[in-house]
Structure formats: structure tokens, C-alpha cells
């Protein structure tokens, strides 16, 4: 595709419900990244995929968070039993080669999650 796309753009859910966020990276990009951005704050790294595997899951805040990537393309970030502190914008990025030290990451527009 022309750029990274994410869906939904906005999600409002009730505390305790599960949510799934989707990311479609740029076609052909090897690496995919998930970040979280709370209101007025910087980016918080969550997880990084190289192909379908995740060499770095260090940023996942709790075991309620999980992510998968299939076919080396689309990724879903799942948050189980959502809490109010999960409310944030979840950003996805992709890069061509997956070499963290030299790759430019291209970001999607984000999914704004609001947990009531």
C-alpha cells in the first residue's frame, strides 16, 4: 500500500473488554513496530516484529497485551481486560529491512483507544 494504515481509527470500549487493533504495513516492509502514546507524552515502545517473529517484546506493559503478525504483513495488537490506563493512541510503524540501527520507520495514523 501507499502507507501504513491502522484500524479502527478510534475505539471506545468499556473497562474489562478485550480489543484488537490492526496494522497494515507498507507492502514489502520486513519490520513492524507497535508504540503507545499517551496524551501529551512521547512514544512508548511496545513490540517489534522481524517478519513474523518478535525479537523484542520488552515493551509490552503487562501480560494483558499481546501481538501477532501473520504472513509477514498484517499485525494485530490485542489488549485483554482493558483498563482505563490503557487509554492512549496506539501507533504502528514499518520499515523496509528491519535493521533497527539504520532503518527509517514510517508511521501509521494511529488508533485512539478510550477505555471508559
Amino acid at each position: 500500500g501507499a502507507g501504513v494504515s491502522q484500524s479502527p481509527s478510534n475505539k471506545v470500549t468499556e473497562k474489562g473488554k478485550d480489543v484488537e487493533l490492526r496494522c497494515d504495513p507498507i507492502s514489502g516492509h520486513t519490520a513492524l513496530y507497535w508504540y503507545r502514546q499517551s496524551l501529551g507524552q512521547g512514544l512508548e515502545f511496545l513490540i517489534y516484529f522481524q517478519g513474523n517473529s518478535a525479537p523484542d517484546k520488552s515493551g509490552l506493559p503487562s501480560d494483558r497485551f499481546s501481538a501477532e503478525r501473520t504472513g509477514g504483513s498484517v499485525s494485530t495488537l490485542t489488549i485483554q481486560r482493558t483498563q482505563q490506563e490503557d487509554s492512549a493512541v496506539y501507533l504502528c510503524a514499518s520499515s523496509a529491512r528491519g535493521m533497527l540501527s539504520t532503518d527509517t520507520q514510517y508511521f501509521g495514523p494511529g488508533t485512539r483507544l478510550t477505555v471508559l
Binding site: 512521547g42 515502545f45 523484542d56 520488552s58 539504520t102 532503518d103
Partner: protein
């Protein structure tokens, strides 16, 4: 990766003045740096990058300076325009690791 600094400072500049936005990084193994611009409600957009074998790189109205000795990166915007108002933050890339610097909110006063 890790994020550095979760509270955003604000820089206010007059239209047509030059802006300088700073970023300190902590990973001494970083060898690739990117500046991103994030407008309200949008995802970050790539502005300019620089590799560790360079001290300066210029783009259209923007210049990035890298001081590896003190692990400091700056973004200079010439003749700042209202459309430059956004949050700016740097990314430093090292082996299998990315680090985000403290974002800065730029406000341009017409």
C-alpha cells in the same frame, strides 16, 4: 527500545524566526538518528536523518546537527512557519535497539 522523557517541553517562536529543537540520547552505540514531526491527531512523519559518521546534514529549511561527544542532536528550522507547529522528537538507532528522545512541542506565533 525505550523512550526517554515523557513530559513534553514547549518552544514558542515568532513566525519567520529560526527554531532550534534539542534532543539528548543515552545509547552510545546509536549510529543512526531521525527527526520526526507529529501534528495533532496524526502519526509521526519523517523529516530528516543523519548517520553517526556525519556532524551535519541539511534539508529543505531544516538542518540536523549531531554531537556524538555529548550525545546531543539538534534540529534547526529556518524561517519557522505556522505549519511547522507540531511535536518534534528524535529517534536514535543502535544495534537491535531504538530510543526516542524527549519530544518538544513547537508553537509558532503568527
Amino acid at each position: 527500545g525505550e523512550s526517554v522523557g515523557l513530559h513534553l517541553p514547549t518552544l514558542s517562536v515568532q513566525e519567520d524566526d529560526n527554531s532550534i529543537i534539542n534532543c539528548a540520547y543515552s545509547n552510545s552505540a546509536s549510529d543512526y538518528f531521525i527527526w520526526y514531526k507529529q501534528e495533532s491527531g496524526k502519526g509521526p512523519q519523517f523529516i530528516i536523518d543523519i548517520r553517526s559518521n556525519m556532524d551535519k546534514r541539511q534539508g529543505q529549511r531544516v538542518t540536523v546537527l549531531l554531537n556524538k561527544t555529548v550525545k546531543h542532536l539538534s534540529l534547526q528550522i529556518a524561517a519557522t512557519q505556522p505549519g511547522d507547529s507540531a511535536v518534534y522528537f528524535c529517534l536514535s538507532g543502535g544495534y537491535q535497539k531504538v530510543t526516542f528522545g524527549t519530544g518538544t512541542k513547537l508553537q509558532v506565533i503568527p
